[in-house]
Symmetry: C2
DNA sequence: CGCAATTTTGACAATCGTTTTCGTTTTCGT
DNA sequence: ACGAAAACGAAAACGATTGTCAAAATTGCG
């Protein structure tokens, strides 16, 4: 277990929402860390492989990561300007996804839901 | 409206599932078309902008496109084995996303929803 | 402790999908 | 047919991610 990996894990844990690898790297660098971009990617990959973090893709193809904070299933409302994320729940969505699955003969149904918008603060600016 | 765009639209219509731009390009080329990769991308972008086709990202960041069957807003139920996709609608989800947005002071709310599962055929195998 | 084997790291180059640039060609209106 | 505007395609540019490889840190063992 490397110190570097811990560094990345911790940086993710301190973030509320999704962070891109480049973003995390710049952040760590600006805090004085001498970590390399390669290592950030490697750490994120390792953490993702071991299921400690979630990965998803933004519409422009960038990979974003987040630490699994809670163990309850929830989704995110993300500000497309400042990146601030709010965790939201939606039982209705869960039920809908499940229903759609069984209705079409699909088993083992999972789903990803991301809601994007402009938060009040950014809308003002 | 260009002939080239029609070519791409048609190529998509003849495909059952999701196709990548590179894939479509190779395909058209092998059929003797002298179309350029740039044009394929431009056509796909235009079609996507006008809402005639759907775009989503694979896990490795590649964009894949699919002709829309209906013109209403909808989501996809995708088989994680064979890639077969079913278009599904969910008014409840739309309303929920909208509600979450306003509830947290977000404006200009959009959302992405993808449902994954194993289709009946693949479950049997 | 000391030293060799092994693992981790990071600067840099390579890759890959996608976008831009920029002449050239085609299309369209008149 | 003529000129403006749009579409085209080849090649260069781009940005995120991955591979390479030598240096540095860690480990195992005597």
């Amino acid at each position: 277990m490397s110190t570097r990996r811990e560094t990345v894990r911790q940086a993710l844990n301190e973030s509320t929402g999704f962070r891109s690898a480049q973003d995390l790297y710049a952040n760590l660098r600006s805090e004085g860390s001498k970590i390399g971009l390669t290592t950030v990617y490697r750490a994120l990959q390792a953490l993702s492989d071991s299921g400690e973090i979630d990965v998803l893709r933004t519409d422009d193809g960038e990979a974003v990561y987040r630490a699994c904070i809670t163990d309850t299933h929830h989704h995110h409302l993300v500000c497309r300007d400042c990146g601030k994320a709010v965790e939201v729940e939606g039982p209705q969505v869960e039920r809908w996804a499940e229903a759609m699955g069984t209705q079409h003969g699909f088993t083992d149904v999972t789903h990803t839901v991301e809601v994007f918008g402009t938060c009040a603060a950014c809308a003002a600016a």
